[in-house]
Amino acid sequence: MNATSQTLAGAKGVTASRGRKDWLLRYSTLFALIVLFLGFAITVDRFLTASNLLNIIQQISMLTIVGAGLTFGFAAREMDLSVGYMVGLSGILVPLLLISGVPLPLALLAGVGAGFAVGAVNSALVTLVGVPSLIATLATGSILYGINFLTTGGRAIYGGLPDAYLWMGQGRLLGIPVLAYAMVLFVLLAWFLMERTIFGRYIYAAGGNLRAAELSGVNGRFYRAAALVVCSLFAAVAGALLAARLGSGQPNAGERYLLDGLATVFIGMTMIRPGTATVTGTFFGALFIGVINNGLNLVGMDTYIQSIVKGLIILVAVAIVSRTTKLKLL
């Protein structure tokens, strides 16, 4: 290292100022979240209560899991627009199987299996056929939507769901919602895969510079495919949990998870490594959306106005990313 020391002095001045700017940029969204949180805490009296905070966690847990999955897709620069309907599909499939007497572990496995199957179809379309993921998943999403409504006739599936399943979505363990544990588990799993394994590193490589990765001997096609499979898998998990929370399988329950899920990733891309989707960023993105939804709800704001506010916030987040880094989606 002594050979580099002579240039260190010169380089430090530059990087110090850059570092400060980076730091501000990296955490501006986090500051916004804190300000928002404090704002609600001061102005809305029911906001800062243990039960409400746990409620927020419970509300965002499925969204966070969908977002964590989408983070893999974004990292590999693949977009999955079918996640919302995937949430719907597994949210129907699992209750259907349970009601017809399939044991809980098998039913859950089937839900996850459906996620794997849809992910495999998506990734085959993208990596083998060569359809851009944006279009391929738009199409498979539409197909899933049709399947969801055909199998249920548009009606909710309820009644006779085992208690163990309902506990997963509604119960508590040591005073904390079971869903919160599930969320933490999957966020940690996603974080570990992305930040601490070769698997995650190569997903980032495939998205960061596919050509460089392939010329380095990396199987870019495999990692792009794997990222899409993870998107569907995580959506399937979220769907199974969602139905447990709702106590019924509803064909259209998953729809909002697409846009909100994308939003969590976008907001997340403004922090940690600006311009890059990270699991930590996505988690804070989900928290952001959870706090907004909850706060505005408590204020009693109309849901349609909530939707407008959320849209504006996403626009601001994406504007920040686009202004400061190259926002690379596809």
Partner: protein, 504 residues
């Protein structure tokens, strides 16, 4: 009646591409501009054509000072640039290409085809009455030389006083070259000066009235073409007296040449055909050629298999069925490509992540696929000190590094995890956009790697580099490998004539 550059300086971070260059380009002459790659020709021309603003210096056009902010700016002031690759739009007719962006339109904005044809024909007739080209043909169906003429006519569309031609004949067959030469020569008499950049010294000498030589960003000399011999020009380009040898110290580390690592037979990739190619361990083989000669494509195809139509491959004595990047990497072939930001590095990553790209498994907990950040930093630091990569830490973003340091990372990622040693390393433009100091270091690393037993293929458009590090050189001409030049016979003249297809 001239464009005068005086005291032009172009400073980039870490390098000075132009250092106090002063030249006059007159409107009644063909002015040749020569120099090695990296001597500053391209930068000087970019300044002249308005696409780069110099750090310091003055440009005067007909005695009036001018600042050229853009190519459009330069065009309005009468300076046009025809680049080496050209910028014709395939699929459009020759006439449409001539008037691209300036098409005659009616009140509704619809292009008037008849007027377009007649105006294009009039332009061609005005500048080159002796040339007949069917302007209704699509541009790609015309011979290369005619395409060049079309580009020149397009460039002369406005009120042009100075026309920069960058390697105008590089892609042309010999016969067509002569025609183009004749055409170019008519222009100065009609008030359009030519700045000619060419690798073919004979061409520069035959066409130019005066010749300016650049070396290492400095103006060496401007001399009348009739007064300069080719040998003298080469000496000026390379700065050496007497014209003997290549002037570079051999600096050979003791190397033992071992067994054949790679043997190719009847190899055909794209338009490149090589009957036989072999390289042994410890050996550095340089590939040279003019633009489009196929040496880059050949080097690339050995690793990626891109465009390979047929060919027999023997690697360490074993016959290979398929050639692709993933398999070759596993077999022990390293590939350090040109255009590192596109082909080798992830811009959003830091130095450590980029270094770990090829062999992340060297910094994991056991063989779990779980990365150990501590080991990664350690491993990255080793490579950084081995290659003298200047960054304040392995966590510095790759995009903030200089070209030379980026290139070292691009090489270093193959050395990360010292347990592995590559049997064959293929380098394409190993010192592209790298300053002199880093260039020397990289050459040293190449020699060291060869001394450790790697077989190394280097292809570069920098002939000095090739002469400095290679044991043997294979010149490529028109997609074919020509006879090998051994180290004892290395000389610039020999290289240049071999690249031009002259076999000695």
């Amino acid at each position: 009646m001239a464009v005068s550059l005086s005291g032009i300086v172009m400073q980039y971070p870490g390098t000075r591409a132009l250092d106090d260059v002063s030249v006059d380009f007159r409107f009644d002459e063909v002015h040749g501009l020569i120099g090695e790659n990296g001597a500053g020709k391209t930068t000087l021309v970019s300044v002249l054509a308005g696409s780069k603003l110099p750090t310091a210096g003055k440009i005067t056009i007909d005695g009036r000072q001018a600042v050229l902010h853009s190519a459009g700016d330069a065009l309005r002031k009468g300076i046009a640039h025809v680049s080496q690759e050209g910028c014709l739009v395939p699929g459009l007719s020759a006439a449409q290409n001539i008037l691209l962006g300036d098409e005659p339109r009616n009140a509704l904005g619809i292009i008037n085809k008849r007027e377009l044809s007649s105006r294009a024909a009039a332009l061609l007739e005005k500048w080159f009455p002796e040339v007949s080209i069917d302007l209704d043909m699509t541009i790609d169906s015309l011979p290369m030389a005619d395409q060049k003429v079309i580009e020149i006519v397009r460039a002369l569309r406005g009120d042009i006083r100075l026309l920069i031609l960058d390697e105008p004949t590089a892609t042309l067959p010999a016969r067509e070259k002569e025609n183009l030469w004749r055409i170019i020569k008519t222009l100065p008499a009609r008030g359009v000066g030519i700045v000619l950049i060419s690798h073919f010294l004979s061409e520069v000498k035959a066409l130019s009235d005066r010749i300016t030589v650049l070396r290492d960003g400095r103006h060496v000399s401007t001399l009348a073409s009739v007064e300069a011999s080719e040998a003298q020009l080469v000496d000026l380009m390379l700065q050496r007296a007497g014209g003997a040898g290549t002037g570079t110290a051999a600096a050979q580390v003791t190397r033992t040449i071992g067994d054949a690592v790679l043997e190719l037979e009847e190899w055909k990739a794209g338009a490149v055909e090589v009957d036989r190619f072999a390289i042994r361990s410890g050996e550095i083989v340089g590939l040279i050629g003019l633009t489009g000669a196929g040496h880059f494509g050949f080097a690339r195809s050995i690793y990626t298999g891109e465009g390979v139509v047929r060919g027999e491959t023997r690697y360490k004595g074993q016959s290979l069925r398929s050639v692709n990047a993933r398999d070759m990497q596993k077999r022990g072939v390293a590939f350090i490509p040109d255009q590192r930001m596109e082909n080798a590095l992830v811009a959003d990553w830091d130095v450590r992540e980029n270094l770990a790209m090829v062999h992340p498994q060297h910094a994991t907990f056991g063989s779990t696929g779980v990365l150990s950040p501590r080991k990664e930093v350690h491993e990255a630091n080793e490579i950084m000190s081995l290659l003298n990569i200047k960054a304040h830490s392995s966590a510095q973003m790759i995009k903030d590094l200089s070209g030379g340091n980026k290139q070292k990372v691009s090489i270093g990622k193959w050395l990360y995890g010292a347990g592995e040693r590559y049997s064959l390393m293929i380098f394409i433009e190993p010192t592209e956009g790298v300053d002199i100091g880093a260039k020397r270091e990289i050459h040293g690393h190449l020699k060291r790697l060869a001394a450790q037993g790697a077989a190394i293929i280097v292809t570069s458009s920098d002939l000095m580099e090739i002469a400095d590090i290679s044991d043997r050189v294979i010149p490529f001409v028109g997609g074919r490998a020509h006879p090998i030049i051994e180290r004892a016979d290395f000389s610039e003249i020999r290289f240049i004539s071999a690249m031009a297809g002259v076999i000695q």
